[in-house]
C-alpha cells in the first residue's frame, strides 16, 4: 500500500504557521490592525494576509507610521500597493513632532526615534483603539527579539515587560486581555532573512525597488552610506553626493538607513550577494548601535 503524503517544505511550514496566526488575530480581537512599514517583511506579511482570507478581503486595516523621513520611493510604492489591492490604509505622523520639525540630523537618532516612531505608534494605536497590532518582526533579527512571543502582551501604556511575558505553548495562543491592554502579534517570528527573500522570489512578491541596486546619490558618514533622497539632508562643507550603485538590505528613514554598494539589480542577484555576505542586515541600521541592549530598552518603551 502506498502511503499518501502532503509533504511540506520548510517554507510551506512557515507559511502555514503564519496564516494560522493571522487568522487567529482576526478571529479573537475586536479591532486588529496590521503594521505596514513598506519593507520586505511587510510585503511578505501582506501577501500572507491575502492568503489567509482568500477569497475574501483582508478584514482589518493597515497602519503606516510615517516619520515624514521615509524614502520617497517607499511612499510611492505604499500608495500604489494600497490602491491596487484596495487596502484600508491608515497613515499617521506624530503632529507634535511635525510641528517641532523633528529631524534625525538635528535631534539625534535616539530622540527622533522616540518621538516619530515610538510615540507616533502609541498615538495611532490609542486613537484607533486597536487591541492587536500585527508586526513583521522576526526572532533572528536581534537578540532581544529572539525572546519575543508570537502573541506579545502590552500593558495600558503599550509597554513590554520581558519578565511577565506569558508562557506560550503549542499553538494555543492566549489572546485574552483586559480593557485598554493590547497585544502585538508577530506572524513572521520563525522566519529568517533568507526565508523572507526566498519566499519573495518564489512567490513573485512586489517589493520597493530600493532593495535592488541602482545608481543613487550617496554621502558617506561614519562609514555608513546615506542616500541623499531630498534636500533636507544638511550637506557639510566640501561634501558632495556621489552617484554609486547601491541597494538597501533594510528600509526605514533614509537618514538612518545605510546603503551597501552592490551591482545586484535582480532578486536572484540580491540573494546571491546575501549568501556570501559577511555582516547582518541590521548593521546598516543606526538605531541598534545606540548602546548594548538598546533595542530591549526601546521595546520596553513601546517600540515595535
Amino acid at each position: 500500500m502506498t502511503v499518501v503524503r502532503d509533504q511540506l517544505s520548510h517554507l510551506q511550514s512557515l507559511e502555514a504557521e503564519s496564516i494560522d496566526i493571522i487568522r487567529e488575530v482576526a478571529a479573537s480581537f475586536q479591532r486588529p490592525v496590521m503594521m505596514y512599514s513598506i519593507g520586505k517583511d511587510s510585503s511578505v506579511m501582506l501577501h500572507l494576509a491575502r492568503k489567509a482570507f482568500h477569497p475574501g478581503p483582508i478584514p482589518f486595516p493597515m497602519l503606516h507610521v510615517d516619520t515624514t523621513w521615509k524614502f520617497r520611493e517607499m511612499i510611492a510604492f505604499r500608495d500604489r500597493t494600497a490602491k491596487e489591492l484596495g487596502l484600508d490604509l491608515i497613515v499617521h505622523s506624530n503632529p507634535d513632532g511635525v510641528a517641532q520639525g523633528m529631524s534625525p540630523f538635528v535631534h539625534g537618532s535616539r530622540v527622533y526615534t522616540d518621538v516619530m516612531k515610538t510615540q507616533a505608534l502609541k498615538q495611532a494605536l490609542s486613537a484607533g483603539r486597536f487591541d492587536c497590532a500585527i508586526g513583521g518582526a522576526r526572532r533572528d533579527e536581534e537578540k532581544s527579539r529572539a525572546k519575543e512571543r508570537i502573541f506579545s502582551f502590552r500593558d495600558r501604556n503599550h509597554r513590554w515587560d520581558p519578565k511577565t511575558q506569558r508562557p506560550e505553548l503549542w499553538n494555543l495562543w492566549n489572546t485574552r486581555i483586559g480593557p485598554g491592554e493590547s497585544v502585538r502579534s508577530f506572524p513572521l517570528s520563525n522566519w529568517t532573512e533568507l526565508d523572507v527573500w526566498t519566499y519573495i522570489h518564489l512567490e513573485k512578491i512586489d517589493v520597493v525597488p530600493l532593495y535592488l541596486a541602482a545608481k543613487r546619490p550617496v554621502v558617506e558618514r561614519d562609514g555608513v552610506l546615506i542616500m541623499v533622497d531630498d534636500d533636507r539632508i544638511p550637506l557639510e562643507a566640501g561634501e558632495t553626493p556621489e552617484m554609486k550603485s547601491v541597494r538597501f538590505r533594510t528600509l526605514g528613514c533614509y537618514p538612518l538607513s545605510g546603503a551597501v554598494e552592490s551591482e545586484a539589480a535582480t532578486l536572484a542577484e540580491v540573494i546571491t550577494e546575501m549568501l556570501v555576505a559577511r555582516s547582518s542586515e541590521r548593521q546598516g541600521r543606526v538605531i541598534d548601535h545606540d548602546g548594548d541592549g538598546s533595542m530591549e530598552d526601546k521595546k520596553k518603551e513601546g517600540y515595535f
Binding site: 511540506l8 517544505s9 494555543l172 536572484a268
Partner: protein, 642 residues
C-alpha cells in the same frame, strides 16, 4: 551567509530549490544551569556560520564586559539576549535561534536551567521534535537533569540526545562518561521508552559539537551536529486521522463559506466524509480552497479553507474530523498539568480553558495526585505549586473534542488561563475521559466525608443477619459460567437465611451505567461503579455477589482497595477460551467473528489470569452446584458465615 553556496557550480535558483526542500527540525536544549547550554548554541551557530561578523564583533565587545572566558569571545553571549540575563549569566526566558546545514534547517529553543523557570522549559518543549539534554560531566545526573528528562517525556518529545558536556574538565575520562550514562539510563528506564543517544562533548572547545575530535578515542559515535542532521524525524502527524479545528470562517459572500484552519492531524481530500464536532453533523468535503488554487490533497500542518457540500453550520472552536475515525467528545477529562504560576492550584477553581480553537470556562474538579519527579511516584496532594506536575480532572462548559495527547499533540493539549488576570496558568496534556481517574481520586475532605451517623450499627446488622458482609467477585471469560454460579450462590445464601444481593455487567448497564459503552475505559468505569455499589451494600451488612469479566489485574486490585481487601474475595472461573467459545451461551463469540467486533476480552485483548485468587474454580469441569459449595466453604472458613 552560506558557505555551502558556490556561485561557480550552481545557479541561485538551483540553490534556493535545494534550500527550500530541506527538512525543518525543531529541537530544544535543556539541562541544569551552568551545564553550558548557551555556550553550546553559540558554538553551533558559530560553527555552522550562522553568525555574521558584526554580531561576532558585538560579542567580543560584550565579552570584555561580562565574559567569563578571560578576554576570549564568550559564545554564550551570542544567545543570552536580555540584559539581566547577560549580567547574571543565566538564561531566564526561551530564546529561539535559527541555523541550517546542508541537510536540514533548525529552529532551536534555548530554555532556562533554573528550577524556577521550569515553565519556560515546558514552553520550549511543546513545539519540539527532539531534545538535547546537557549534563555537566563534573556533576553528573542532577535533580534538574531528571526534571528536564521527565518534562520532555511528559510533553511527548520522541527523541532525546544526552550530551555529556565539559568532558575536557574531567580529562575525557571514559569512566566518568560511562557512569553518567548508566545513571541516566537507570532513571529514564522508568519513563515511556523513546530513542535516546549519548554523546561526550566540550561545547567550549567545540569537541564533538560540529565536528568529531581525537579527544575521546574510546567514543566512536557521531558528533552532535551529525546526530541532529541524521536522526529520523519522520513526522507522523499525517498518519493519524484528519482533524481540523475551525479557526476563522471565511464568508465573503453568500456563495462561499470556507472553514479556515490549520490541519492538526491527518490528510484530507475532496470527497472525504467528515463530521463537525461536537454537533455531530455529517458532510462531505467539496473543496480545499487556498489562494494558490484548490488542492487535491492537504495534510498537517497546512493552513487551508475547507468547503463542505452541505450548508452546515460550524464556527470557531468546532472541529472538522474524519467520519470513520472520530475523536472523543467529553466534558470531563483527565489531564496532566504543568503548573506555571506562583499562586498554587486549588481544587474547585475555575479557569478559561483553551483547547484547539475552543475557549471555554472550566473547573478543576479534583487533583488526583502530584508527580514526584525524583522518584517518579505519584503523591496525594491538596494543590499544585509553581512548576509542579500533577493529574487533574477537568470539567468544561462546552464539551471538548480531543484525542489523547500521546496520539495527537494538537488535539490533546490545552492551556488554563486565569479568569481575571488572563495569565497562562498551566499547560495540560489530555490523557482521556475522566472515568479512569475516579478509581484513585481522593475522597471528599473534611466535614463532607461523614454523612449523619445511622441509628443502626453494622454490628447489630451482622448479628441479625448472621454474617459478616463480603463482596465475592466472580471473574472469568465470557461464557465461563460466572452468571450461572452467581445466580445459584445467591439462591443458596437466601436458603441459608442470609442476606445477599447479586449484580453483573448487564444489570449495572440497565440503569446506573447506561451512559457507558464498551471501550476499555468505559468497562473500567462500569466495574468501578459496581464496586462503589458493593461497598455501600457491604457497609449495610449485606453480602454482595458480583459477576464481571474484570479482565485487568490492576482493575481488580483497585476494586479490592475500594471495597476493602479484608472483605473482598476473588473467585476465578478458569474455563479456557476454547471451552467458552464452543459453549458460547450468549452467542457473543459467533457475533464477534461475524461482525469482527472490537473489545472482546480474550480475543481483542488478553484476559489477565488472577495470580493469587481466593478461589479458583475449574468451571468447565465441575458443575455449578459444586462451585457454589466450594464458595460457601470458603466463606465459612474465612468467618463470613456464622
Amino acid at each position: 551567509m552560506d558557505p555551502r553556496f558556490d556561485a561557480n557550480t550552481e545557479t541561485i535558483d538551483e540553490y534556493l530549490l535545494r534550500h527550500e526542500r530541506k527538512q525543518l527540525l525543531r529541537f530544544l536544549t535543556c539541562g541544569s544551569v551552568d551545564d553550558g547550554k548557551s555556550t553550546l548554541i553559540g558554538r553551533l551557530l558559530h560553527d555552522t556560520k550562522a553568525i555574521y561578523e558584526d554580531q561576532l564583533a558585538a560579542v567580543e565587545g560584550a565579552s570584555k564586559k561580562y565574559g567569563t572566558q578571560a578576554g576570549q569571545a564568550d559564545l554564550a553571549l551570542l544567545v543570552d539576549g536580555l540584559r539581566s540575563e547577560r549580567e547574571q549569566g543565566i538564561t531566564i526566558d526561551v530564546a529561539y535561534r535559527y541555523f541550517s546545514t546542508e541537510h536540514r534547517k533548525f529552529i532551536v529553543a534555548d530554555t532556562p536551567g533554573h528550577e524556577q523557570y521550569t515553565r519556560n522549559m515546558a514552553t520550549g518543549a511543546s513545539t519540539c521534535d527532539l531534545a538535547v539534554l546537557l549534563v555537566d560531566a563534573r556533576h553528573g545526573v542532577s535533580v534538574q537533569t531528571r526534571r528536564h528528562c521527565v518534562i520532555t517525556s511528559l510533553l511527548g518529545i520522541p527523541k532525546i540526545i544526552v550530551a555529556i558536556n565539559k568532558m575536557d574538565i574531567v580529562d575525557w575520562d571514559q569512566s566518568v562518561y560511562d557512569r553518567i550514562k548508566a545513571d541516566f539510563e537507570a532513571f529514564s528506564e522508568k519513563l515511556p521508552s523513546r530513542e535516546q543517544v549519548f554523546v561526550p562533548m566540550s561545547a567550549l572547545h567545540g569537541d564533538y559539537v560540529a565536528e568529531g575530535s581525537e579527544k575521546a578515542p574510546w567514543y566512536d559515535g557521531p558528533c552532535l551536529l551529525e546526530l541532529l542532521e541524521t536522526m529520523d524525524i519522520g513526522s507522523n502527524e499525517q498518519d493519524t486521522p484528519f482533524r481540523l479545528p475551525v479557526n476563522h470562517v471565511i464568508r465573503p459572500d453568500l456563495d462561499f463559506r470556507g472553514f479556515g484552519g490549520r490541519i492538526e492531524s491527518g490528510i484530507v481530500r475532496p470527497g472525504d466524509r467528515v463530521t463537525v464536532l461536537p454537533a455531530g453533523t455529517e458532510s462531505t468535503v467539496s473543496r480545499i480552497s487556498t489562494f494558490d488554487g484548490d488542492l487535491e490533497i492537504a495534510g498537517a500542518p497546512r493552513s487551508v479553507a475547507i468547503v463542505l457540500d452541505d450548508e452546515i453550520d460550524a464556527s470557531r472552536g468546532d472541529m472538522i474530523v474524519a467520519l470513520k475515525d472520530q475523536p472523543t467528545v467529553a466534558d470531563r477529562v483527565t489531564a496532566d498539568l504543568v503548573w506555571m504560576h506562583e499562586d498554587p492550584l486549588q481544587p474547585g477553581r475555575e479557569f478559561i480553558l483553551r483547547h484547539g480553537t475552543r475557549v471555554t470556562p472550566c473547573r478543576v474538579r479534583r487533583i488526583a495526585h502530584r508527580l514526584d519527579i525524583d522518584t517518579l511516584e505519584t503523591v496525594p496532594c491538596d494543590g499544585l505549586g509553581l512548576n509542579e506536575i500533577g493529574r487533574v480532572e477537568l470539567e468544561t462548559d462546552v464539551p471538548l473534542v480531543f484525542d489523547p495527547y500521546e496520539r495527537v499533540r494538537g488535539t490533546g493539549s490545552l492551556i488554563l488561563i486565569d479568569r481575571i488576570g488572563n495569565w497562562t496558568m498551566a499547560a495540560g496534556m489530555i490523557r482521556g475521559k475522566s472515568s479512569d481517574l475516579r478509581w484513585t481520586a481522593a475522597p471528599l475532605s473534611g466535614a463532607d466525608r461523614h454523612g449523619d451517623e445511622g441509628l443502626v450499627t453494622l454490628e447489630e446488622r451482622e448479628k441479625r443477619f448472621g454474617q459478616k458482609p463480603a463482596t465475592i467477585l466472580l471473574t472469568g471469560l465470557a461464557g465461563s459460567g460466572k452468571t450461572r454460579i452467581a445466580l445459584m450462590l445467591e439462591r443458596a445464601l437466601f436458603d441459608l437465611g442470609r442476606v445477599a444481593i447479586r449484580f453483573d455487567g448487564t444489570t449495572m448497564r440497565q440503569g446506573l451505567n447506561r451512559d457507558l459503552g464498551f471501550s476499555a475505559e468505559d468497562r473500567s468505569e462500569n466495574l468501578r461503579r459496581a464496586m462503589e455499589t458493593a461497598k455501600l451494600v457491604n457497609d449495610e451488612g449485606i453480602i454482595c455477589v458480583a459477576a464481571f469479566v474484570a479482565p485487568r489485574s490492576t482493575t481488580r486490585e483497585k476494586a479490592a482497595d475500594l471495597v476493602g481487601p479484608d472483605r473482598f474475595l476473588v473467585v476465578h472461573c478458569n474455563a479456557p477460551l476454547e471451552h467458552c467459545r464452543s459453549l458460547d451461551p450468549t452467542g457473543l463469540y459467533a457475533d464477534a467473528e461475524a461482525r469482527s467486533l472490537e473489545g472482546i476480552p480474550g480475543i481483542s485483548f488478553d484476559y489477565e489470569t488472577p495470580e493469587n485468587p481466593d478461589l479458583s474454580l475449574p468451571s468447565h469441569q465441575i458443575d455449578p452446584e459444586e462451585s457454589v459449595n466450594r464458595i460457601l466453604a470458603l466463606m465459612n472458613e474465612r468467618g463470613f458465615l456464622r
